[in-house]
Each structure stands twice: as C-alpha cells, then as structure tokens.
Amino acid sequence: MHWLALLISLLLSSPAIGAPIQAVASFSILGDMVKAIGGDRVEVTTIVGANADTHVYEPKPSDAAAVARAQIFFVNGLGFEGWMDRFVQATGYRGPLVIASQGVTPRDFVDDGVTVTDPHAWQSLSNGLIYVRNIRTALCRIAPSSCGAFTASAQDYSEQILALDVEVRAAVATVPPAERKVITTHDAFGYFGAAYGVSFLAPEGISTDAEPSAAGVARLIEQIRSTGVKALFIENMTDPRLIEQIANETGITVGGELYADALSFPGRGAGSYLEMFRHNIGLLVPAMKGD
C-alpha cells in the first residue's frame, strides 16, 4: 500500500506548512526582507514598525511577548539595536538569534564626535544580497523541509535586488560626477554613498535639537554656496519655514522625505525594502541635478 504510506507521510509533514514559523524581526526593513524570503511559511512580527526610530526605541510588553513566542529572531547587528541584548535576555528567548548583517564589510562613521560602526548596511543593495543569504540560511536551518521554497524565493528576491542595483547605478550615472553631492541631516547613507559614488555631507551650523542661531544658518548657507551642492534633505524635526528661507537664499532644492532606517507606512512610497530604494533614488537624482 504505497499510496497510504505517502498519505501518512504527507499528513505528518503538513503541520510544517499549516502552522507557519513564528519569526520576529527587530525593525521594519529587516521584517520586509524576511517576509519576502519566508513567504507564507513564515509569520513575521516586526518590533520597531514603519516610520519609527530603532536607535531609541522603547520595547513594549507586547514586543516581549512576541519574542518569547518566536522560533527565530532576526536583528541587524553592527550596534543598530543597542537596546536589544538586554531586551532579549529579559524575554527569556532561547531560540536562534540571526544577525542579518553578518559578513558585511563594516564602515565607520562619526556620531556626535565619536567614531562608531555605521549600522545602516542595508543602504547598499550588495549588502542587501548578504542579508538575503543570511536570512535564507537561518530559515533553512530551523525548517529544513521548507528549505527548497526559501531558496527559490531568496533566488528570486536576489535577482530583483540585482536588477534594482543596476537601475540605481544607471540613475546615478545620469548625474555629472562633480554634482553627486547631497547635504542631509540623515546620517544613514554612508553605505549608499560608498556603493554608488554619492557624497553625503552633514549640514554645518544647524542641528535638529537646538534653537537655530544666525551664525549657524549663515554657516549652512556658506557651506551650500562653497560646495555648490544643489540637494538638501532635512529630517522633519527642523522648522520647515527656516528651510524654506535657506532654499530661497541659495536657490537650492529642498528634497522630499528620504527613508533611511525605517519603511514608510504602506502606500506612502517606501513600504518595502525595494520600494524604499526606488523612492530615495527618485528623490536624490533630480535634487542633485537641481531639477
């Protein structure tokens, strides 16, 4: 009775498909990648959701409950989730902790005068491929029966990432090399800049957490004039009326909202990792050209 044995084996293996793996990802971009590879065999809970700042996130009790239930837990690493270690200990989670950025060549950046490792590695699509590889390997390890499906979707996803990488390089290539400069308060574009040959300068003089002084605004205007930068991207903490004045005075384009370390809410242009990249490049390229 061969068919009966087959049926029994199918029945036994079906829970693996019927009950998806419970996965938790530390932040929205990583959660999106895990979803893309896991498909409907993995149920992903994201701790720091869309449009929220992972650096300073305060975990909620419901997050701890999700982690305690989880079978696998994905984090970015490179110091991105500073609160994570204590949080994981507190939840009593004993499952595998997957560091998605493992194998990335880390970059340093200066944050408040201290040189630290730049955690925003996903801002280069070739690092994105490393993330995909790490996520696939980790999922295969805890659910070997679904490994074929994970490998197939990881393959498919990697091809999309590679195609987008070509697209991004082509878009940047339309900007004359001397004009590939952006002033931004976002400090998350180090890997992006290195991968695609764009320099990201921090604005001088103004900070998002202090009252502006005339000296500071004057320094920023002089910086814009002397560097010839045409693209200015300021995070939304700064008074928009002030930015408007600076734009008027220098003839600079104030770009829209870049998404650096969180996705946007769905339908706002940057709801997934790939959409986020398309969104940012769609803002950066015209701004650098001064259109």
């Binding site: 502006p212 002084s213 000296a215 408007e244």
Partner: protein
Amino acid sequence: MSLDVLWAPFVEFAFLRRALVGAVILALSAAPVGAFLMFRRMSLAGDAMSHAILPGAAVGFLLSGLAILPMTLGGFVAGLAVALLAGAVSRLTAQREDTSLAAFYLISLALGVLLVSLKGSNVDLMHVLFGTVLALNDDALILIGLVASISFVGLALIWRPLYAECLDPIFLRSVSRSGPVAHFIFLGLVVLNLVGGFQALGTLLAVGLMMLPAAAARFWVRRLEAVIGLGMAFGVLSAYLGLMASYYLGAASGPAIILVAGIIYVLSLIGAPRGAILSRVLPARHRVA
C-alpha cells in the same frame, strides 16, 4: 577691524535682513503698547495674554499646519476672547480683573497644550512656542507690517481717553463714557501685537519686546510720550544687537534679542537718572512711579 562688521552680515544674507526688518517693525509697534500697559499698571497682563493666544494658534495649526494666517487669526480670536471674558467678569462680579485674567489665561493655555498634543509631536509645539525670527518669509513680514499699521492707527484713535485714564481714571469716568471702550480696543491691540510677534519670537518671547524697552525707558524719562519714543529706540537697538550677537556669537536669535533688551533694562536700572542709584544721589524733586 573695519566698521563694516556692523552691517556686513546683513548685506550678505537675506535671511538676516528679513529678521532685522521684522524685529525692528515689531519693536516699533510693541513699545508704545508696552508703555501704556506699564502706565496702566498692567505689565503682567501682556504676559498672561501671550499664553492665552496658544489655543487659537493651536486650532489654526491643527487645521492647516504651520501656516501663518490660520494660526494668527486663531491666536487673535483666542486672545481677544480671554481679554473680553476677563473684563466682563471683573465688571459683573467683585473679582478683580487680574484674577479673572489669570483664571482665563490658564484655562486657555491648558486647552492650547492639549490641542497641540492631539496632532503630532512636541517638536511642532516648540515651533509654536518659540517661533524663529530667522525664518520670516514674505507672508510673515507682511503680517508684521499690517499688525504695526493697525496698532499705530488704533493707538492714535484711542490716544486721548487712554492717556487721560492713565493720568486720572476717576476724572475720566466722570466726564466720559469712552473709558471701557478704549480699554477693550487697547486690549485688542495688545493681543494683535503679541500675535504679530509670535511668528517671529514665539508666544513666550513676543511679550519681551513689548515690556522690556518700555520699562527700561521709564528709568530715563517720565512723560508717556518720551517713554514711548525711547522705548522704541531701545527696542530697535535690541533687535539689531540681538541679531549681531546671534550672528557673531552663535546664540539662538529670539532669546538673544530679548536678552539684549534685558541688558538695556539692567544697565538703565543701574545708570539712569531715575534708576536705583542715581535717583538716590541726585537731588530729585520727587519720585513718581
């Protein structure tokens, strides 16, 4: 060091020229109002009103973000409502106007903070509370100019009853019924000046350009007209020196302007003929508050 450090920043940067124009017009407009407040012994009423503006500005902010006209209109309506209610209570009951004003401005302030917190972050509230003299666009400058014009014309119209009431309120009440009307128009002008100022300096500091120059001038001269003139001069000087300090020393602009006005006040207190020291040394005829 050549003299052009005195004007070079204003030649080079349009945003500084705008800041100077806005602050100077505000100083010219607010000083006379401040002088009248002081002569009417209502120096703290301006401060109370500046808090009362908040819910109106917050409603404007909720409806249309950091847009000038809705926030200004809302602030004006709220400030006026508090002034009228406080005045009405003091006329209908035995409670004095300073008490009812305190009551209504606190209600108004709490309502304002509540409304602002309904939408978005406290960062936005900070923009409402502190304003930015460095971010005056065309709309803001036009608004400030309009406020100053209305304020000058309004003060000219109610000058006589206001002036008479300052000197002798009981006499005015016996010969004229225009006292309360003039008083309410005057309160309207106070609110108007604060509303004009909060775009540039924020609700908290707008009252600074109103009171400090007038109070400093009072140490030098006695007559109301002289206090107004000198107060205007002190206000303009504060605007200029404050922006210079903000440019050369990197101080935040709004507080720098008000602090310069404060320094002028303290120096006047020490060095002026009617200040704390000389009035005791010089053979004074008699001192008048």
